[in-house]
């Protein structure tokens, strides 16, 4: 019941927090990302990762995918506050452990080393849809798509095979089956 946002909640209870993926459809206009991100920072909500791109050029709609953690009350507030923003059309919310939704992140790994090391690196990446994007004698750029924790793990594991640089995206999400939300 106590909410950490009030000056008067000298809260004694600690509520459980969950990770949620919030998907927001917005008008693709100047400042819209600042409005969404500013709402999070201004009200003290977390952003773990963020992915934004236009998905409908004709209607000028962008889709923002935000990974966040919070108590059920905070997650509700996030959704309700987002819905109040004028350029926001729709807000969807999924728990990270929701089985009916696919979550994916993409990462690029640059591995530098001798061919045997690189080969081992590629092998390690195989189960995550590895694609070789660039190849020289001494280096490889490998793209994988996976879950956040899988990418975290790979980033750690590849160190011994000469991983020198990582670039990764925020999570994107889509429901399984024929169900859609737009």
């Amino acid at each position: 019941m106590a909410n950490p946002k009030s000056a008067y909640s000298v809260s004694t209870k600690k509520e459980k927090t969950d990770t949620h993926i919030i998907v927001v459809w917005v008008d693709n206009e100047a400042g819209v990302l600042a409005r969404v991100v500013g709402l999070f920072s201004g009200r003290g909500y977390n952003i773990e990762s963020l992915a934004v791109a236009e998905v409908d050029a004709k209607r000028n709609i962008s889709r923002i995918t935000i990974v966040t953690t919070g108590t059920p009350q905070v997650i509700d507030q996030i959704k309700l506050q987002l819905k109040k923003l004028v350029p926001v059309h729709k807000v969807a919310d999924f728990k990270r452990n929701d089985k009916s939704v696919i979550f994916k992140e993409m990462a690029l790994f640059k591995v530098v080393g001798n061919s045997s090391k690189i080969k081992k690196a590629i092998n390690a990446c195989k189960k995550y849809n590895a694609v070789i994007l660039d190849k020289t004698k001494k280096s490889n750029v490998i793209q994988i798509t996976a879950l956040r924790r899988e990418i975290d793990k790979m980033a750690k594991n590849l160190k011994k095979f000469g991983l020198v640089s990582i670039s990764r995206t925020g999570a994107v999400a889509m429901t399984r089956g024929d169900k859609i939300f737009n």
Binding site: M1, A2, Y8, V10, G31, G38, D76, Q77, V86
Partner: protein, 588 residues
């Protein structure tokens, strides 16, 4: 091809279509084309303030006392940054404002040009929405949308930033498109089932209380009427937040007075012990709830609000009805009358014990203070002011601090839109410019700013505005030479270390009044108070009233920070055994 208009002309055509009569503003380089166009539009009167913050607060006073949106016009850079306090104030208290700001020409944006600032960036967190108009084609559409966003749903401020080249550019003017849905931003789709649930809860309740807020005022005079009818039909006790005062008559027997930090003993105890709490248009602000964990522990809670994000934000409720207070209350009254006509009668025995309990709390007389023949007590001054002005349909504004709470406690409001105070943001310096705006909206009415001497000095320059437009506002200063509320907290929390809360070298307010070209009145003794107040009320022109009050008076009753509703300090003798300790000390 339709006629081409300049951007500046389009601005005025929009304002005319929106039936704007007054704009509060201050000219500058980046809005000169708009100011140049002013002379061609006689239906719109410009009120020249002395500082842009004053323009914002004056527009707030205008909006809150008239129910119409307030319009502000400022220049780029410092003009825009000066209005930020007023925009934030309006955002916190849900006041509809449309602020038009000039901007450097589009080709200079981002170059750190003279008087350039990122106005839309700065005002993004303190407006409902804002726009930078980069194309003359968008101008009329944007301005109409701005009015719509400001006035629909939960009202609030918006800002339209117009670069100077757009003000010169030419395009045709388009009238407002009828009812374009704003992404479903306006929620008014409550249903009969929810109203039936509410009535079931009312029927079951033995210890009910209605807690109404500013939403009732914002919903219009009809909402206040519906609220009065509901209270009449049900026979329930009602309390009000600071912003809601006036929605229900302050002198009625069913009214328990204001609740919250400086609310009455009966209102706060009733909130704590009730079994049904009906929140109508309020937001469970921390000044109201006290300690959250112990807030109204035994009650079912109902929340009626137009803003879905207010529901379950602070307090989890059992029944939420999202929509316009006016519609919901009317629907409730209608259903109540249809279902059981004699609710008041049938309710009476059910809740009579509850009323007995409330009378017991009431008999504590928590607003009591020790009066004096020697010095003017500030509470006494407000009481006398009330007695001598209550028959005049008076409009009251306030600054922020002790005087504000005394005004809320001792001045009784019988009509909505008569009470303008900065509650959410707590802006010192709000009351004087707000009084200017109120007087503009109601030229024939008596408008009084109940002020503190520290607050009023923050926007004192607006007296010059009042004199320029012959606005007979009365600035009633409860002068205790301290920032009283700061001093009170230092007394309670910081062992009477009155760090920087005493104002040395205050101006002579009488001479100050004369310097501005208005009348100054000084009252130092209780026996001259009535005569001087009458002199102030009867004077046809602006007055600064310097009421010298007891500098050491504290504002009671009080819920100490970190304490629940049923642990109030009633007066100076009690505070020793109810000391604020531990975590409570860190709260604001």
């Amino acid at each position: 091809m339709s006629k081409l208009y300049s951007g500046a002309e389009i601005v005025f055509k929009c304002l005319e279509d929106q039936e704007v009569e007054y704009i509060f503003g201050y000219p500058g380089g980046a809005v000169l084309p708009i100011y140049d166009e002013l002379k061609n539009h006689s239906s719109i009167k410009h009120i020249l303030v002395r500082h842009e913050q004053g323009a914002g607060h004056a527009a707030e006073g205008y909006a809150r006392s008239s129910g119409k949106p307030g319009v502000v016009l400022v220049t780029s850079g410092p003009g825009a940054t000066n209005v930020v306090t007023a925009l934030t104030d309006a955002y916190m208290d849900s006041v509809p404002l449309v602020c038009i700001s000039g901007q450097v020409p589009t080709h200079l944006i981002g170059t750190d040009a003279f008087q350039e600032c990122d106005t839309t960036g700065i005002t993004r967190p303190c407006t409902k929405h804002n726009w930078l108009v980069k194309d003359i084609k968008d101008l009329s559409k944007t301005l109409h949308e701005a009015f719509k966003v400001a006035t629909t749903g939960r009202p609030g401020p918006v800002l339209v930033d117009i670069p100077k080249d757009i003000q010169f550019a030419k395009f045709n003017y388009s009238k407002q498109k009828i009812e374009k849905k704003l992404n479903g931003k306006v929620s008014n789709n409550f249903n009969q089932k929810e109203i039936d649930q509410l009535i079931d809860l009312m029927n079951q309740s033995r210890r009910p209380i209605i807690y109404s807020g500013g939403g009732v005022i914002n919903s219009g005079p009809e909402a206040s009427e519906a609220l009065r009818e509901l209270v009449e039909i049900t026979g329930f006790p009602i309390t009000s937040t600071l912003q809601g005062l006036g929605a229900y008559p302050g002198d009625d027997n069913q009214f328990l007075g204001m609740l919250g930090m400086h609310g009455t003993y009966e209102a706060n105890n009733a909130m704590h012990d009730c079994d049904l709490l009906i929140n109508i248009g309020a937001r469970f602000d921390d000044r109201i709830t006290g300690k959250i964990d112990e807030f109204s522990p035994k009650s079912k809670k109902v929340h009626i609000d137009i803003d879905p994000s207010s529901i379950n934000k602070i307090i989890k409720v059992d029944l939420a009805i999202v929509g316009d207070v006016k519609e919901i209350l009317k629907g409730t009254n209608k259903t109540l009358k249809k279902k059981n006509i004699d609710l008041k009668k049938s309710n009476k025995p059910k809740i009579s014990k509850w009323w007995e309990q409330i009378q017991k709390w009431r008999s504590k007389n928590s607003l009591h203070f020790k009066n004096s023949d020697e010095t003017i007590k500030p509470q006494h001054a407000v009481q006398r002011l009330y007695e001598l002005t209550k028959d005049k349909d008076t409009f009251i504004t306030t600054e922020v601090g002790q005087h504000q709470m005394w005004a809320a406690q001792h001045y009784k409001f019988n009509k909505p839109n008569r009470w303008m105070t900065s509650g959410g943001l707590g802006t010192m310096g709000y009351g004087l410019p707000a009084a200017v705006g109120v007087q503009i909206a109601h030229p024939k009415k008596l408008v009084i700013d109940i002020a503190g001497e520290a607050s009023v000095l923050m926007t004192m320059q607006e007296m010059s505005t009042a004199v320029q437009y012959s606005l007979p506002i009365k600035i009633f200063i409860l002068n205790n030479q301290y920032m009283g509320m700061v001093r009170q907290w230092q007394e309670l929390l910081h062992e009477k270390n009155y760090s920087e809360s005493y104002s040395e070298a205050l101006p002579d307010f009488i001479k100050l009044a004369e310097a501005y070209g208005c009348k100054g009145i000084l009252a130092e003794k209780p026996d001259e108070l009535d005569r001087k107040i009458n002199e102030m009320v009867e004077f046809d022109g602006p007055v600064i009233f310097d009421c010298r009050v007891d500098p050491n008076e504290n504002c009671f009753p009080m819920i100490p920070s970190g304490k629940p509703h049923n642990q109030m300090i009633l007066g100076p003798s009690e505070k020793e055994d109810n000391k604020i300790t531990g975590k409570g000390k860190t709260l604001v």
